[in-house]
Amino acid sequence: MEKILEVKDLEVSFQTYGGSVKAVRGVSFDLHKGETLAIVGESGSGKSVTSQTIMKLIPMPPGKITGGQILFNGEDIVPKTDKQMQKIRGKEISMIFQDPMTSLNPTMKVGYQIMEVLIKHQNMSKQAAKARAIELLSLVGIPMPERRVNQYPHEFSGGMRQRVMIAIALAANPKLLIADEPTTALDVTIQAQILDLMKDLQSKMDTSIIFITHDLGVVANVADRVAVMYAGQIVEMGTVDEIFYDPRHPYTWGLLASMPSLDNDDKAELAAIPGTPPDLTNPPKGDAFAARNNYALAIDFEEEPPMYQISETHFAKTWLLHPDAPKVEPPDAVKKRMRQLSSAFKQPVLVKEGN
């Protein structure tokens, strides 16, 4: 399959009063055409910064890309100027944000907010853009689009506004859609509708999606592959099956164990991950997760773990996969769902030294 996006060793930091915060510390992943990659992590794990960096939407300064490459269609966008980025944003890559209540301009008609994209990227006349905006509104399932197009955002409910955001994002048929927690601020019933809509439109338009979320439950429904981020790094990445049925990183275990599930029996308690993520002004020595990790090894406090490959598509960054590491049992909630996947190698293979 055609690779549409390749992120290599991306590093992003922010200058703040307290010093430089290393928000993204060497992230690499790729994305194929029509594929959906979910990036999962707690708040502050760097998932939003990573995705916004792909569009170069992080404020610079204080933000700065301190290393790595972002290859979009084989072209590195890191050195591109803001002017060059304007041709990519909205046209090639577009984005849906978390809070539909605040991401639309309150004093501009909804229709015009869609038309802006069409006029800018497709050279449409005002009339043509308006007609297309009405089409797009009905495409995202908004009833009476002819009337709605002239209304202001406050006349729409949260779910409807997120549909408008989707219409804006898809107006110019982008190759890549980044959805930054698009359903977090919505009611559960609306969440499902929005997810269905996104999947439906994706199959129609063959768009690739990066889906940012902290909710593993959502991931299972939408993603092909999952990347788990912690403290600015990807700690485990694999297909949905690999992450859900054969997770290898203790942080992923923690996330899975803390996820409510219908097949849990009543007695099983939800397990919380103790503590809070580390301060990325001074990332801890060794494995950033060690301090909160019940399975931490002595070496976790000294050396950063390397990346191990478990299958063609499955990677995890933990010392537990080292041949000398003790065999540990994942938490019960995770153990219950574990199964042997045929794709896995006999032994994890070391791919990269920790640095």
Partner: protein, 304 residues
């Protein structure tokens, strides 16, 4: 890669340690102070303010002249080693009068701010805390009073009540407290339903204890900022009234009255206007930048 096997012992989480080594926690005021100190302009304003206050205290005693004694043989003298800021049309030492004026101008500002604070906190606090009809009535009253144009009312009162320090402060505070009361009420309303206040209510704390322990400390920030910004506006109003001929009765000196006395003589004796005018501007400037700095330091969300 060679790593000794004992490194691979399971040791488990150490998150208690991890939480401990994170940044030392700062008390609220210490944090505010650190942020305030980073604002160079505000710091400059604070230093200026301290200097002005020191001069207001010691200034009138430095020259041996008296602010009210006329010396008609020495009138309208330019600045010299004898009279550092020159003399006015009655031969009085402008330096001494300037610092005497500083006392009065700053006194007016501080007094107005304190009275606004007192009435405002009481009115807004009660309205916000009681809520319901009491709140409705009290704030309606404030709304109507607020509709009265401020300076016009002050002028009217000064005309009617006659000039003087007391009437001036009264005139300034008669509607000045409304702003403060609105801020306090807003704070009280937003704070009183927060969990920690509810928590202490359920624990049986009584009203006055809740007020003293929770509401007032949290409302401190906006109150302090409003006060800091009330002082320069009162100093300005005093100068304005003096210019209209509604200022203090002579021989009392205020910056406003000195400036308005000096205005007609500007062409020939510019120092008589220059010194009081400069100090009015400097003081208003200092209070304004300190107030801005405090606001930014107290509310880090505003500071970007």
């Amino acid at each position: 890669m060679q790593i000794s096997k004992d490194k691979f012992q399971l040791v488990g989480s150490k998150y208690e340690d991890a939480e401990k080594i994170s940044k030392p926690s700062l008390s609220f005021w210490k944090d505010v102070f650190i942020r305030f100190r980073k604002n160079k302009l505000a710091l400059f304003g604070l230093v200026l303010l301290i200097l002005l206050i020191i001069m207001a205290i010691i200034g009138p005693h430095l020259t041996g002249y008296d602010y009210r004694t006329n010396d008609l043989t020495n009138k309208n003298q330019p600045p010299s080693s004898e009279h550092w800021f020159g003399t006015d049309d009655l031969g009085r030492d402008v330096f001494t009068r300037t610092w005497e004026g500083a006392r009065i101008s700053i006194f007016i500002g501080v007094a107005a701010a304190l009275i606004d604070l007192f009435i405002g906190v009481l009115w807004g606090g009660i309205a916000g805390y009681k809520g319901g009809r009491t709140d409705e009535m009290m704030m309606r009253f404030a709304d109507v009073l607020y509709g009265v144009p401020y300076l016009l009312l002050v002028i009217l009162l000064m005309v009617v009540l006659g000039q003087g320090l007391g009437t001036m402060i009264l005139a300034m505070t008669i509607t000045g407290w409304i702003n403060m009361s609105r801020i306090v009420r807003g704070q009280v309303l937003s704070l009183k339903n927060q969990e920690y206040v509810l928590a202490s209510k359920t624990l049986g704390a009584n009203t006055s204890r809740i007020m003293a322990k929770h509401l007032i400390p949290n409302a401190m920030a906006p109150i302090l900022v409003t006060m800091t910004l009330t002082i320069p506006s009162a100093i300005f109003t005093e100068a304005f009234l003096s210019y209209l001929g509604l200022g203090l009765n002579p021989p009392l000196a205020s910056w406003g009255s000195m400036a308005s006395d000096g205005l007609p003589a500007l062409r020939y004796y510019p120092w008589r206007l220059f010194f009081p005018a400069t100090f009015i501007c400097l003081t208003i400037f200092a209070f304004n930048v300190v107030g801005d700095g405090l606001r930014d330091a107290l509310d880090p969300r505003l500071r970007k």
